[in-house]
C-alpha cells in the first residue's frame, strides 16, 4: 500500500450529515470483480443526471473544485453498508484525506486499508474549514501525518488525534496480512488449544437437510 506522510491539496466540501456508503457507490456497481475504476462512479446518483450527464447542482461537478484531493465532510461520514467499494471510489477519484467530526466504524477502518487518512476534528473546527473553503476559491490544506496537523496558508493550524497503530499503518503503508502472518506460530498454537471452536462439527448430512421447524 502507498505510504502516507504529508499531503497538500484543494478542499472540496460535502455539506451533509450521515453520508452513507450507498451514496458513495450504489448497489449496481457492487457486481465488480476488481478494486479499480470506482472514482468515475463515486457519488453516482448525486453526481449524474440521466444519461450520465453531470448534475451541475452537485458540488463534485463545480468547476472550482476540480482536482480537489481533500474531502471535507460532516458527522457520521460513511455509515451503513460495509462495502469497501466506497473508500476505493474515494481514493480512485483522487481524495487522499477526509476531514470530518466523526466516521462510522467500518468505513473508518476500511480507509486505513487503502491509504486514505480519515482525520477527525471537532464540530467547530470542521465548521471553520467549511467557511474558509466557501470563502476562498482554491482553498488548500496541508495535512501532516507525522505531526498530526492540518494547516492552511493563512496560519490556521488544527491538531487531530489518531491511534498510534493507525498512524503507523499509514506512514509505512503496511500490509496487514504480511504482519499478521508473522504470528503464524501463535495462530497454530491457538488452534490447538481451542480445538472445540476451531473445528467444524457436522453430524447431519447437510445436503439432505431442510429446516423442519
Amino acid at each position: 500500500m502507498e505510504p502516507f506522510n504529508t499531503h497538500t491539496g484543494m478542499v472540496m466540501p460535502l455539506d451533509r450529515v450521515n453520508v452513507d456508503t450507498d451514496q458513495m457507490v450504489p448497489k449496481q456497481f457492487l457486481k465488480a470483480l476488481t478494486r479499480k475504476g470506482f472514482g468515475r462512479i463515486l457519488f453516482y446518483d448525486w453526481r449524474y443526471l440521466p444519461g450520465e450527464k453531470p448534475n451541475p447542482e452537485f458540488v463534485l461537478n463545480f468547476p472550482r473544485y476540480e482536482g480537489a484531493s481533500v474531502l471535507l465532510a460532516r458527522h457520521n461520514f460513511g455509515c451503513g453498508s460495509s462495502r469497501e467499494h466506497a473508500p476505493w471510489g474515494v481514493k480512485d477519484y483522487g481524495f487522499r484525506v477526509i476531514i470530518a467530526p466523526s466516521y462510522a466504524d467500518i468505513f473508518y477502518n476500511n480507509c486505513f486499508k487503502n491509504g486514505i487518512l480519515p482525520a477527525s476534528l471537532s464540530e467547530e473546527q470542521v465548521e471553520e474549514l467549511f467557511q474558509r473553503t466557501e470563502k476562498e476559491e482554491g482553498y488548500m490544506l496541508t495535512v501532516n501525518l507525522p505531526n498530526q496537523t492540518i494547516a492552511d496558508r493563512h496560519g490556521l493550524m488544527f491538531r487531530f488525534d489518531l491511534a498510534p497503530s493507525r498512524k503507523e499503518v499509514l506512514l509505512q503503508g503496511l500490509d496487514d496480512i504480511g504482519t499478521s502472518l508473522q504470528h503464524e506460530p501463535d495462530i497454530t498454537a491457538y488452534e490447538k488449544t481451542h480445538a472445540a471452536t476451531a473445528t467444524m462439527y457436522e453430524a447431519v448430512d447437510v445436503q439432505n437437510y431442510t429446516d423442519g421447524r
Binding site: 451514496q23 446518483d45 467500518i106 499478521s180 495462530i187 481451542h194
Partner: protein, 475 residues
C-alpha cells in the same frame, strides 16, 4: 477476578496475540462470504501467492444478486455482471476448498439467515462476513460483525483479524411488549432514541424482559439492525430459547457433545456488576408500531405519529437533513403516517424473512386481498429451508390467494441488485433494514416497518396501526 461483560469474555477467549498499546490479533471461528464482497479478496490472495488457511471454517453462499423467480433461477443468468460474480465465487470456492451453497442448493439463502439455520452460528464464537448485517448472529451470544473486503482477504489468509477492543453498551428493554409490537418495532425505537451513530465505537448487548421474551427469530431481527444504530455488533446472551433452537441443526454437536456444548454456553453472559460504558433503557409497554419517514433508519416515528417539521429539530444539520429527506421522500411535514399511501410491499431481507415473520404476515392477510392500488406485493423467504417449511404450513397458498407473489430466497428488493427493484418515486412498505436514498432503486422511497405492518399496508393500501386489527396470535 473483576466481573466481565459477555463481549469481554468472548474477546478474551479469542486473543491470539496482544502487545500493549497495539490492536490485538483475534481468532475468527467462522467466516461467511458471498458473491458481492469476496472476488477482490480472493484475487488479492492469489496475487500474493497466499492460501485460504481454514477453508473448513469458511462458508460461501450466493445471495445478493440471485434471481428470485423460479424461471430466472433455472435459465442462464441474464445480468452479465452478476453472472461473472457467481462464476468467480464458484471458481474461488472450488479452487480453495471452501464450501459453497450456490443458488441451486436446497440450503441456499441470505448469508445471515442460513448461518443460524444450519447451526454454523453458535454461542461464544467470533463470526465475520463482508457485510454489515453480520451483527445478526449476535443473537446467539456470538461476537459477529461486518468487515471490508481487505479484511475478508486477511481472514482468508490468517483466520484472524487485527482488532482493537470496542467500548460496551447495555441496551435494556424492560417489561412486556404490547400485541402488534414486534422485534422490528423494538429495534427501530432504539435507533430512533440513540440515533444512527449512537452506538459508534461500541458493541451492544441487549437485555431485559422484552428481549428475553423474543424468539430466536425476533432476537436476530434486533441484532441485525444494531449496525443501523452505529454499533458494529449486537449480542444477546444465550439461554434456553437459544439452546432449544440449536439442537439438531446440521453443524451443531449432537447427543452428549451437545450437552457438553450447552454447559459451556451457559457461562456466556455478563457477570453481575460488569461495567458497561453506556446504558440505554426503554419500557416495552410504551412502544407502538414504528414507521420510518425519512432517508435513514433513525428518521422514525410511531404509526400514530406525523411526518415531522424540519423546524422541530434543534440542530441546524438535522433541520437540513430533514428538509432534504422530505423532499426526497415526497412527503409534507405534518402528514399523518396512516395517511401515507403505499405502491409496493416487500416482506423479506436478513432483517425479517424468517418463519415467525412469514407466519405473522400470513395470519394478518389470510382471507383478505391486497388493495387495488398496490402495484406489487412480494414475499421473499430468507432461505430455501424457510421457503420449504412455509410451504409445508400452507403459507404460500395464503399469500398467493391474497395477491402476493411468492418468491425464491435471496436479498432481493432490500438492496435491488437483482431484478427486484423499486421504481423511481414509488413508495414501499418494506421489512428490510435501510431506507437510504436509492437503496431499493434509484429515486425509490422506502418506509421500514415490521412484517405485520407491511402486510396490513398491503391490504389497506396505506399504513395502518396493526393494533386496531386482530393481532391476537401474532408474535
Amino acid at each position: 477476578m473483576p466481573p466481565k461483560t459477555l463481549y469481554e469474555k468472548i474477546w478474551d477467549s479469542h486473543v491470539v496475540h496482544e502487545e500493549a498499546g497495539k490492536p490485538a490479533l483475534i481468532y475468527i471461528d467462522r467466516h461467511l462470504i458471498h458473491e458481492g464482497t469476496s472476488p477482490q479478496a480472493f484475487a488479492g490472495l492469489s496475487a500474493e501467492g497466499r492460501k485460504v488457511r481454514r477453508p473448513d471454517l469458511t462458508f460461501a453462499v450466493m445471495d445478493h444478486s440471485v434471481p428470485t423467480t423460479a424461471k430466472d433461477r433455472i435459465l442462464p443468468i441474464v445480468d452479465t455482471d452478476a453472472r461473472l460474480q457467481f462464476e468467480a465465487l464458484e471458481k474461488n470456492c472450488r479452487e480453495t476448498g471452501v464450501r459453497l451453497f450456490d443458488m441451486n442448493s436446497r440450503n441456499q439463502g441470505i448469508v445471515h439467515i442460513i448461518g443460524p439455520e444450519l447451526g454454523v452460528t453458535q454461542p461464544g464464537q467470533t463470526i465475520v462476513c463482508g457485510d454489515s448485517h453480520t451483527s445478526t448472529h449476535g443473537a446467539f451470544g456470538t461476537l459477529a460483525f461486518g468487515i471490508g473486503t481487505s479484511e475478508v482477504e486477511h481472514v482468508l489468509a490468517t483466520q484472524c483479524l487485527v482488532q482493537s477492543r470496542s467500548k460496551t453498551m447495555h441496551i435494556l428493554v424492560h417489561g412486556k411488549r404490547p400485541r402488534g409490537v414486534t422485534a422490528k418495532d423494538i429495534i427501530l425505537a432504539i435507533i430512533g432514541k440513540i440515533g444512527i451513530s449512537g452506538g459508534t465505537g461500541h458493541v451492544a448487548e441487549y437485555g431485559g424482559e422484552a428481549i428475553r421474551d423474543l424468539s430466536m427469530d425476533g432476537r436476530m431481527t434486533v441484532c441485525n439492525m444494531t449496525i443501523e444504530g452505529g454499533a458494529r455488533a449486537g449480542m444477546i446472551a444465550p439461554d434456553e430459547t437459544t439452546f432449544a433452537y440449536m439442537e439438531g441443526r446440521p453443524f451443531v454437536p449432537q447427543g452428549k457433545a451437545f450437552e457438553e456444548a450447552v454447559a459451556g454456553w451457559r457461562k456466556l453472559n455478563s457477570d453481575d456488576g460488569a461495567k458497561f460504558d453506556m446504558t440505554v433503557e426503554l419500557q416495552a409497554q410504551d412502544l407502538a408500531p414504528q414507521v420510518t419517514w425519512g432517508t435513514n433508519p433513525g428518521m422514525v416515528t410511531s404509526v400514530t405519529g406525523r411526518v415531522p417539521e424540519p423546524g422541530s429539530f434543534h440542530d441546524p444539520n438535522d433541520q437540513k437533513a430533514t428538509e432534504s429527506a422530505l423532499k426526497y421522500m415526497g412527503l409534507k411535514a405534518g402528514t399523518a403516517i396512516v395517511d401515507i399511501p403505499v405502491d409496493r410491499v416487500f416482506i423479506g431481507s436478513c432483517t425479517n424473512s424468517r418463519l415467525d415473520d412469514l407466519r405473522a404476515a400470513a395470519y394478518l392477510v389470510a382471507g383478505k386481498h391486497v388493495a387495488h392500488s398496490i402495484k406489487q406485493a412480494l414475499i421473499v423467504p430468507g432461505s430455501r429451508g424457510i421457503k420449504a417449511q412455509a410451504e409445508k404450513e400452507g403459507l404460500d397458498k395464503i399469500f398467493r390467494e391474497a395477491g402476493f407473489e411468492w418468491r425464491d430466497a435471496g436479498c432481493s428488493m432490500c438492496i435491488g441488485m437483482n431484478a427486484d427493484v423499486l421504481p423511481p418515486h414509488e413508495r414501499s412498505a418494506s421489512t428490510s433494514n435501510r431506507n437510504f436514498e436509492g437503496r431499493q432503486g434509484k429515486d425509490s422511497r422506502t418506509h421500514l416497518v415490521s412484517p405485520v405492518m407491511a402486510a396490513a399496508a398491503a391490504i389497506a393500501g396505506h399504513f395502518v396501526d396493526v393494533r386496531s386489527l386482530d393481532v391476537s396470535s401474532v408474535e
